[in-house]
C-alpha cells in the first residue's frame, strides 16, 4: 500500500518524531511505576490529575522557552530570563500589596500590566546591549541576570511578599472550562508567537539573521530592530512566566523565583529541535520540550527517586533524549537507507 508507506515515511522523517517519542516514553515509565498516573477526575468543577498538573506546571517554562526560541534563532541566548521573571513578580506583588483594594480585579490587572511593561523595557535593554553596543549575548544578558536578582530583591526588600488577590491567584490556579488558566495563557502566547512568526515574515527574517547575519544585512533586513524586538519579547515572556510562578504560591521570593529557569528553557528549546547555532526554529518543538521538562519534574517524585539521585536521573534522561535526537543514532535505526554522510558540512554553512 503505497499510501500508508508514504505516511509512515513522513512520520519517520518528521523532526518532531523524536521529541514526541521521548515524551511518550517518559509518560510510559510513569504509568508503569504508578498505574494510576493517568487518572483524571473532576474536583471542585475542574479537572484534577497528574496530567493536569504537568500541563499547568509546564506553563512557566513554556513561556520562557518561547521567548528563548526566538532569541536562540537569532544566534543569541538570554540568561536573564530568571531574573526578569523575579522582577516581574516582585513588581506585580508589591503593587498589589500596596494598592488600596488588595483583592480587586483592577488592582491585579493594573499591577500585572505595569510589571509586564517593566519586563519589556528590561528585554529591550538586553536587545540594546546586543544589537547596538554589540556585546556578546551571553555577557549582555549575564549583566541583567546578576543585577536583576538584586533589583527584584530591592523591590521586595528581600522579604517574601505574600499577596491576597483571588484574580491574581487564578493566573496559576484558575481554570477556564476545566482547563488550567496558566496553560491556556501559555498556549495563547504560543499561538500568538506562532501567528506572528509564521503568518508574517518575521519568522523567516529572524532565521535569516540567525543563519547569516552579514548576508541578511546586505539584503536589507533590519537585523538590529529584529534582535531588539526578539529580546524585548523574551523579556515579556519571562515577565508573564514570573507572574504565573508568583501566582502559583501567591507570593514572591525574589531570590529563588525563576532560579535556573533559563537552563530549563534552553533545554526545552533544544529538545524541541532548535539548534543553539541559530537559524531554523520550531515553536511546536519548544512546546513539546517544555511538556517534557514538566513531565520530568513530575516523574522524579512520582516514581520516588530519592533526592540525592535527582541529578543522576536527569543526566541519564538528558543523555538518552540527546542520543535519540542525534542523526548518527537515528541512522542506525534506518538500516536500509544508507544516505551519504555529510560530516560537519551541515553545520556552519554560513
Amino acid at each position: 500500500m503505497p499510501e500508508t508507506a508514504t505516511l509512515t515515511q513522513r512520520v519517520l522523517r518528521h523532526p518532531l518524531l523524536w521529541p514526541v517519542l521521548a515524551l511518550l516514553v517518559l509518560l510510559l515509565i510513569n504509568v508503569l511505576v504508578k498505574p494510576n498516573f493517568f487518572d483524571i477526575r473532576m474536583q471542585d468543577g475542574h479537572l484534577y490529575g497528574n496530567l493536569v498538573d504537568i500541563v499547568r506546571n509546564s506553563a512557566p517554562v513554556l513561556l520562557v522557552a518561547l521567548g528563548m526560541t526566538l532569541v536562540i534563532a537569532t544566534r543569541g541566548i538570554d540568561l536573564s530570563v530568571g531574573a526578569i521573571a523575579a522582577i516581574s513578580a516582585a513588581v506585580a506583588c508589591t503593587r498589589i500589596v500596596g494598592a488600596g483594594d488588595e483583592g480587586a480585579l483592577t488592582t491585579a490587572v493594573l499591577a500585572c500590566t505595569y510589571a509586564l511593561a517593566v519586563c519589556i523595557v528590561l528585554g529591550a535593554w538586553n536587545g540594546f546591549l546586543v544589537s547596538v553596543v554589540g556585546i556578546q549575548p551571553i555577557i549582555a544578558t549575564l549583566i541583567l541576570m546578576v543585577a536583576g536578582r538584586g533589583i527584584s530583591m530591592a523591590i521586595t526588600d528581600g522579604q517574601i511578599t505574600t499577596v491576597r488577590n483571588g484574580w491574581f491567584s487564578d493566573l496559576a490556579s484558575g481554570y477556564v472550562l476545566t482547563v488550567p488558566l496558566a496553560f491556556i495563557i501559555a498556549l495563547g502566547v504560543f499561538a500568538l508567537t506562532a501567528l506572528l512568526t509564521r503568518r508574517t515574515a518575521l519568522g523567516m527574517l529572524i532565521e535569516a539573521v540567525g543563519i547569516n547575519p552579514e548576508a541578511s544585512r546586505l539584503a536589507g533586513v533590519r537585523s538590529r530592530t529584529i534582535i531588539w524586538t526578539v529580546y524585548a519579547f523574551s523579556g515579556l515572556c519571562a515577565g508573564i512566566a514570573g507572574l504565573v510562578i508568583a501566582a502559583n504560591t501567591n507570593s514572591v521570593n525574589a531570590n529563588s523565583l525563576g532560579l535556573w529557569i533559563e537552563l530549563d528553557a534552553i533545554l526545552a528549546v533544544v529538545i524541541g529541535g532548535t539548534s543553539l547555532a541559530g537559524g531554523r526554529f520550531s515553536l511546536t518543538g519548544t512546546l513539546v520540550g517544555a511538556l517534557f521538562i514538566a513531565t520530568l519534574a513530575r516523574t522524579i517524585p512520582n516514581i520516588g527517586i530519592p533526592s540525592e539521585l535527582n541529578y543522576l536521573f536527569k543526566a541519564v534522561v538528558v543523555i538518552a533524549v540527546c542520543l535519540l535526537q542525534s542523526p548518527k543514532v537515528r541512522a542506525l535505526f534506518r538500516v536500509h537507507r544508507r544516505g551519504p554522510s555529510v560530516p560537519a558540512l551541515a553545520k556552519g554553512a554560513a
Binding site: K34, N36, F37, D39, Q43, D44, Y48, G49, N50, D53, N57, M153, D157, G158, Q159, I160, T162, S173, I245, N248, T249, N250, S251, N253, N255, S256, L257, A297, R298, I300, P301, N302, G304, P306, S307, E308, N310
Partner: protein, 312 residues
C-alpha cells in the same frame, strides 16, 4: 533570643573606641536569611559598631575571599555564618595570625582546633528535627487522620546536601523511630521554596495513598504544600497534619489560622546577641564556646498569641 538584651551599654575596647566588625553572610536565599541580615545590620547600628557586610551569594569561596579582605582591612572582629562546616582552617588561621577574633553564627565549623574561633552562636538543627518528630509521637492519635493505626508521613526536604536539610531530617527520623506506627512514606526535596514545596506535594497527593502528616523542613515549603492540599480538595491541618520549622510570619499566620499544626522555631534574630558577644570578646571577657539561640515551639494557640509582635 528575640531581642531580649539589645542595647549595648558603654563603648568598648579598641584604640579609638569604635569597633569595626566584618560580617560575611552566606547569601540572601530565603526570607529567614534576610531577617537574619537585617537583624545584624540593625543591631550593629544600635550598638554603635561599624559593620562591614558582604553577601557571598551562597558560595563558600566568596565567603573566604570576604574574610580575607577583612583581614587585610584590619577589622577588629570577624563574624560569619559558614555555608558548610568544613574547609575553614586556612582562612581562620590567617585571622588568628592577624590577631582578629572570630565569632561563628548560625552554623558551626568542624575544625579540630577550637582556638580558631571564640564562640559559636546559633541553633541546633538536629534538635529542631527532633522537636518536630516528637510532636508526631506525642500526638499520635490526633495525627492518624484516617484512624487506621498507621501514620503515613511525607517529608519535604530542603536543598539536598544543605546542613539544615540533613540535620532536620536526621533529628526527625531519630524521634519518630520511637513509634513503629509512624512511617515516612515519601520524601523529596522541595529546595526550601514554596514553589518547590507545592509541586512536590501535588505529586504526593496524586499518588493515591493516604497521607496523615506532612513534615516540611521549613515554613515556605509547608506554605506551598498547603496550596497543593487545598487544590486537591482537602483541608490542611485537618485531613493532613502539618509540621514545619522556622516560624516566619507567614508560617505563624497559617498556624494561627489552623492550616499548620505545629512549628519549631528557628530564630534568625541573632544580631543583638552577636553584638554583645563581640564586645565581650574584644573586652577580653571569657565567653562560652557554644551559645544556643533561645528557641521555642509553637502550637496553634501559642501562635495566635505570639503573632501580633512577630518581627519577621
Amino acid at each position: 533570643a528575640c531581642g531580649s538584651d539589645s542595647a549595648g551599654g558603654d563603648a568598648t575596647a579598641s584604640d579609638d573606641g569604635s569597633i569595626t566588625m566584618g560580617f560575611a553572610q552566606v547569601g540572601a536565599e530565603s526570607g529567614w536569611r534576610t531577617a537574619n541580615t537585617t537583624s545584624i545590620q540593625d543591631s550593629a547600628k544600635e550598638a554603635g559598631i561599624d559593620l562591614k557586610f558582604t553577601d557571598a551569594q551562597g558560595k563558600q569561596e566568596n565567603q573566604i575571599q570576604a574574610i580575607r579582605s577583612y583581614i587585610q582591612q584590619k577589622v577588629d572582629v570577624i563574624a560569619f555564618s559558614p555555608v558548610v562546616e568544613t574547609g575553614w582552617d586556612a582562612v581562620l588561621n590567617e585571622a588568628k595570625a592577624a590577631g582578629i577574633p572570630v565569632i561563628l553564627t548560625d552554623r558551626a565549623v568542624d575544625s579540630k582546633d577550637t582556638s580558631l574561633y571564640k564562640t559559636f552562636l546559633g541553633s541546633d538543627f538536629v534538635v529542631e528535627g527532633q522537636k518536630a518528630g516528637q510532636w508526631v509521637v506525642d500526638n499520635a492519635d490526633e495525627a492518624d487522620t484516617d484512624g487506621d493505626g498507621k501514620i503515613n508521613v511525607v517529608q519535604l526536604e530542603g536543598t539536598t546536601g544543605a546542613a539544615p536539610a540533613i540535620d532536620r531530617g536526621e533529628g526527625f527520623a531519630d524521634s519518630i523511630s520511637a513509634d513503629p506506627s509512624i512511617k515516612v512514606v515519601a520524601s523529596q526535596t522541595g529546595d526550601f521554596t514554596r514553589d518547590g514545596g507545592k509541586q512536590v506535594m501535588e505529586s504526593f497527593l496524586q499518588s493515591g495513598d493516604h497521607i496523615d502528616v506532612l513534615f516540611a523542613q521549613n515554613d515556605d515549603m509547608g506554605l506551598g504544600a498547603i496550596e497543593a492540599i487545598e487544590a486537591a480538595g482537602l483541608t490542611p491541618g485537618k485531613d493532613i497534619k502539618i509540621i514545619t520549622v522556622d516560624a516566619v510570619h507567614d508560617g505563624m499566620q497559617a498556624l494561627s489560622d489552623g492550616k499548620i499544626n505545629f512549628i519549631v522555631e528557628c530564630s534568625p534574630l541573632l544580631g543583638p546577641q552577636l553584638m554583645d558577644l563581640a564586645k565581650k570578646v574584644l573586652d577580653g571577657e571569657e565567653v562560652e564556646p557554644r551559645i544556643l539561640t533561645e528557641e521555642t515551639t509553637f502550637d496553634q494557640a501559642q501562635a495566635t498569641e505570639a503573632l501580633p509582635d512577630r518581627q519577621y
